[in-house]
Subunit: 122 residues, 2 copies
């Protein structure tokens, strides 16, 4: 089974974390045919942390996981921290296929999203 | 003339700031018919800061500006810092129409962007 793990930074502000969990919920409604298991996870400040998020996916039957960094820029978190944590966690699950998607700012759809957000401003 | 001012947090890491400037460049290619003036600006750590970005747009002839926060969550920066800076700057330009777009996580296109990023992962 394929899983999608949306990873945000995590915030001391509860509402920011809840927005991420709600976004994972929206993803669940939109792409449950492609990804049977969809969860949110956090780099820090909120639960589940990345290793626990990966474990959660595996416990629910995931054999492959796409880790999707909910980050706009290719900063240290995206370039180093998330890959390091994912690679360390993977050593516990040798049969698991796990890949990390590019950060969102690199998406060709970002320009469309920005223009739509600008044009919707009242 | 309408202007679009893309506001990112700004980073000590030069490449992150350059990504934002390049994104503004991509926007310029995509929607120059709707927005004659498009610039990037930063909340901190990089130039131009928000007041200077607004001044730049006005100096180039902008009579209305959409400030587009390049932020995923509705944290303090989006809810308080950016509106406060924009409102303070606006007092210097009484004839300027200036509005702030919603943060990107609120966009209905975000789910599509996430799914596209996940599916593109190799």
């Amino acid at each position: 089974m394929k899983a999608l793990l949306l990873i945000a930074h995590g915030s001391h502000r509860k509402q920011s974390n809840e927005e991420v969990v709600m976004l994972a919920e929206r993803l669940r409604h939109s792409c449950s045919e492609q990804y049977s298991i969809i969860h949110a996870g956090f780099l820090e400040f909120a639960e589940p942390l990345i290793p626990d998020g990966i474990k959660k996916c595996i416990d629910e039957g995931a054999s492959s996981i796409i880790v999707l960094p909910y980050f706009l820029n290719s900063g240290h978190h995206v370039i180093e921290d998330i890959p390091n944590i994912v690679n360390n966690t993977k050593t516990h699950y040798p049969d698991l296929e796990i890949k990390i998607a590019t950060h969102l700012g690199a998406s060709p759809l970002m320009v469309d999203l920005l223009i739509t957000a600008a044009n919707a401003t009242k």
